[in-house]
Amino acid sequence: MSRYNLNNSYKAIVIGGSAGSFQGIIKILSQLSADFPLPIIMALHRLKHVRHGFVEALSIKSNIKISEPEDKESIRKGMAYLAPANYHLSVELGNYFSLSTEEMVNNSRPAIDITLGSAAYLYRTKLVGILLSGANRDGALGMKQIKDKGGITIIQDPAECMIDTMPKAAQSITTIDHTLGIDSIVAFLKELQQHYK
């Protein structure tokens, strides 16, 4: 079972998603085991003024513990993190999160570009970026930054996306290493996990 030529050098998974990505995220989180070896950092478009409910909804089927990080919280493996409502989520040198209330980017806060871009800068070649279904261009620039720093870029197969604007936007400005359906994204992550045993 070695389709993707991976190794154990990766430090984090970062996932961006918007309209139509919820079921895909649920599926990914439900199929990974609690001992998944890398932190999963998620920037998902969400209602700005609803602080509660999203983590709970994602947690129902997830084996991995999910939290909305506080400012300057350390990034730990075995955790999945969700960008909180109405904040941008960045990762910092020193491997911790920071939050910000800067202007919306691509009409979004949290913006996927900000999380992906800061992760690209921190993790460089040791990052896997995954961009799922969505209705705007947020995340495209972040995926380009991941690619430019030598990370792996994966988009959800536009044919499978409820709304394919977001993955297609990424495709149009950078090289996408793998275009995969959700089931194959899960298979990719499981193969990656094998390298950490």
């Binding site: 003024h49 400012d71 920071s98 800067e102």
Partner: protein
Amino acid sequence: MITDLDIADLKKVTELILQQHGYDFRDYALSSFKRRVLRILELGGLTIDSLLKKIADQPGYINEFLDELTVNVTEMFRDPGFWRLLREEIIPGILLNNKQFKIWHAGCSSGEEVISMNIMLKEMGLQDNVSIIATDIDTAILDKARAATYGIKNMEVNEKNYIRFQGKHSLKNYYREENGKAVFNSELLRNVSFRKHDLVVGEAFNKFDLILCRNVMIYFNQTLQNQVLKKFHGSLFKYGYLAIGTKESLIWCEYVNRFIVVNQEEKVYKKIKD
């Protein structure tokens, strides 16, 4: 368009500003600071070198630089649950001991939080019991705060927050529309003094019963957050309250043991030890 900057470039900027103007950005959180500087370069069509030259050659440019560098995105009654907590627990708690009290809005930006405070206090019949000092590093934004005038398009979210705060009236009772702007009644600011103050290098200047510093320290690294918490500690009366942003934390700060958590959800702390 420049899409990334080296730490070395950012250092040149912070060192020059420190040396020439005395503002210290060395302990700002890196990723947001970098984005702010990138934004300044993009807005001004500048490179790092031309930015450095501009800072060095045009002494007045620093104010414009600070105005762009600082994040001035805010809302009235942001986190309505926090404002309900203030109205229902925190302010009544202060009133038990003091009929007159003092509030500091540290990093008040364009003043939405100050307006919210006074609307709440007015509805509680307390506006004249409270004196408020509102500070920011950015003089241009302080002028905006004094004018209490906001784009009408911002009022939708403010109104929604106010409704969720369960205010007594409609937010419309407090402002009039003029040329596409919402102009708040100046009476709402009669107990407020706006002052320039830099949390990083500025000293504690008074004692307060309540300090609000919400979503300001997120732009600082932990070293600086630690220092600023000491200043807040020194600026609070014993049993005074400190409110920070709902996703901020003090747990790694040295002085955290001198506070107790009053409300973990809304991040309100109380000073219990000098």
